[in-house]
Amino acid sequence: MSSTQSPVRSASRAGDDEQRGTAIAVDHLVKTYTSDHGDAHPRAVDDVSLAIEYGEFFTLLGPSGCGKTTTLRSIAGLEKPDSGEIELAGQVVYSSRSRINLPSDRRRIGMVFQSYAIWPHMSVFENAAFPLRVEPRGRRRSERAIREAVEEALEVVELTPFALRGATQLSGGQQQRLALARAMVAHPQVMLLDEPLSNLDAKLRDSMRVELKRLQARSGFTAVYVTHDQTEALAMSTRIAVMNAGVIQQVDSPRAIYEHPANAFVAGFIGRMNFLTAKVLAVSENGEDGVELTVDAGVGVPVRARSAQRRSLDEEVTLCVRPEGIGLLPPRESSTGHARGTVLSVQFLGESTEYIIRVRETTLIIRAEASVRFERGGEVDVEFALGGTWVVGR
């Protein structure tokens, strides 16, 4: 996943015209933290390589401690990696081989922090103006140009009426928008966002999600977004990199990650998933989505499922089934191809109903439309649709 050559670009601000090529290239990045006693911990970032295109909304997703934030902070220059290389807009900003490590202030990025990091001793206007005020002398704009740029940025995030207020007088959501305005005011090509929505309440989070996408579409920056919230990741990203224990598990579009997870970790981390141990009964080669298999998952009937890789007969695999990928039918005498199960519990959730069904030795979580109704303790037929099943390695 080495970087492609950077194309010729105009020096105008991002988003004016469509840019192609790699905006951010991360190459074999490694970072290990040492404790105060000097002993080394496992790698926080373990040989991570990424190529992020211009205009992408790229999300690093994973549980806490998976290395996503360390990767982001390495791109920002706030963390010094042990080895590897990072390129921003065609310029090497970090390279262990060439001994390059550009400090953050010279990487020309925008960044939004989890805590917003709004300076309490400055007004809203001054917070947003800061990146322009600290530009190197030669490049610094006139006071008027700064004023115009800040007013524009504040208008984009709808904070114009608050410009003269103290920054501490803003609400959480407003501080978040101010952080965005500050990050965007100098029109950086690359915008780094470190869990920017995690401190907001659920309602505000939903609206800020839409807001962020709108801002990105408008300004055209390349966004790298760190989150542990899979809903955010699925909703906003052009591509997602799922990380665990410092290693990238899968890089793909949200839909591909959801429907065709590369391994059990990704499958379990994105959405809810039933995992069944299974054995391959038959292999057939058709289908664009990979190999189609028939497996014995211990539910009494053979189950059809797809897999990204070839599988051999009798191979032990894991069958992944989404709760909404299983159908429930009233029990029939002559049901072929349906497994018979018992309803262990019923939870009515409003728009859907969640069932826990026992099929032989296996317990399944199933989400059915609210119109489907079964009683606790009753019998049901369970149907595995081909679109709802997926096989990964054990």
Partner: protein
Amino acid sequence: MTLLQDPTPRLPDRTGGIQIVSPPRPGKRSFGPAILLVLASAIAMLLLSLLGVVVVMAFSTSGLSGPFTLDNFVDLFRSTSALNALGNTLVYVIVATATSLVVGVPAAWIVERTDLPGKSVVYGVFVIGVLIPGFFTAMGWLFMFHPKSGIINQILVDAFALSGAPFNIVSMPAMGFVQGLSLASVVFAMTCTTFRTMDVALEDAARASGATFLGQLRRVTLPLAWPSILAATLYVAIIAFGAFDVPAIIGLSAREFTFSTFLYFNVNPQAGMPKYGLVAAFSTFMILAGILLSWAYSRVLKRGNRYRVVTGKNYKPTTVGLGRWVWAAWGFLGLYFLVSKVMPLVAVMWTALLPYLQPPSPEALASISLANLTGLPWKLMLDAALNTAIVVIAVPTLAMLYSAILSWVVIRSKYRFRAVYDYVAFIPHAVPTLILGVGALLLALFVVPQQLRLYGSVTLLAIVMSLVMVSFGTRMTNSGLIQIHPELEEAAAVSGAGTFTTLRRVLVPLLRPTLTNGWLWIAILTFRELTVPLILFSPANMTLAVAVWTLWSGGLQGQAAMITVLMLLAVTPLALLYLRLTRNRGGAL
């Protein structure tokens, strides 16, 4: 990890297109952190050299250049007075520490966890308590309880026709008690935080489980507070161990030596040459002891972190209703204030107005005058006031500058050995101040070229005192920096601000309240400081505190008392300003 090791960033050789980001100019690498590290190292080296010169001296025969010898240690162990002083110091430290705990811990609990009315008054009095010069209370106590001339002793002897004085302040336990009363403020401040941040739910759970109030106190509250009580114990023990004012004012003339007064006496003997070798040998042991105590202190602090009584979120202070016990609580606190603050204050003022020490009587009242004020050697006093003004401005300024630099390296940088700077900054606390003073004296006498005229100068005094204050300063700048979210600085960095721009435009403005409070606090401590100015004393650098000492040891008790009262008046506005600024109980201490 360090930016020092990076060579100048070079242009990458594999860029394909036109650079839209201006290439890094050679030599424009971020030097900021490296400069701060160099400065911090210089400060640390200065501090360590003060100790180093003492240790070298301990193993030398004459001066610093003499051959290696153990003679000084042989002399030390043969000297009964040195061993006596050691035993005395132990008694002194134990009594002082115990007294401070007995007063400070209950007071902290009462103020933080009960509905006592007038808490802010209690808090204010305790803070002021730290600021009252040690020599001031010591004088007051001596005036009251001197075995022969003590006012209260005389009153009691007359009233009950006693054959001898009932109290004798000139003894180790009594001096320890006096020291303990003023250290109670420190214990109070240290344990207040714990009681304040303790999760009330933990105590409620004990009550809900059926524990009585006393049971809850014994089984939950005190065990939870234990690490911080232990830390406070070690902390005040370290202070008591190097304390100078009280044993000097009360014990020195009676030849009742603790370690510090023994040291002072041998550096400034009444006859013969200063015994630098002996003093250095004794100090070397005390440096070891101080480091050991501090090590124990830091261990306790670390272990205390496991308890994590601080919850932060959803903190709701609930208080115990005192009911009728409010009288007991106020009685306890009132008695403490009366005994430790009011009585010494009255005694000193009384003495300041009289020609000689005498109990209240019609004749005494008739002889009240301002003779002690008009009779002062004014030329000397004005010089002393000027010197005091210089150090009171220079010392806190330098100390806060050093502290901010050291704290930045300790808290914010990622240098591997950053913790070392924290330990070094604690040295002035771990090691009796007097030893640092002796070190400075030796450096000025034997190491620094005499052409610099450092010995006996105000400059030397200001430098040494500012180094001594670094242990106070860093405590404040450390906690100030910890409270500032690192992302506030990182946001400046990614916005394009270099290290110094970030410091100037973000960090310093955010740290300003801490810097102001710290400056004020250290200014007040400097104003009353006796130890370092006394050991570095020369006619050219006399401060007001030293003037008090000079008059006192010259037998002019009334004049000494008078200046002390004037000093107290002068420091009051500063202390009130400090209280105002830290009204939300951020109090440094």
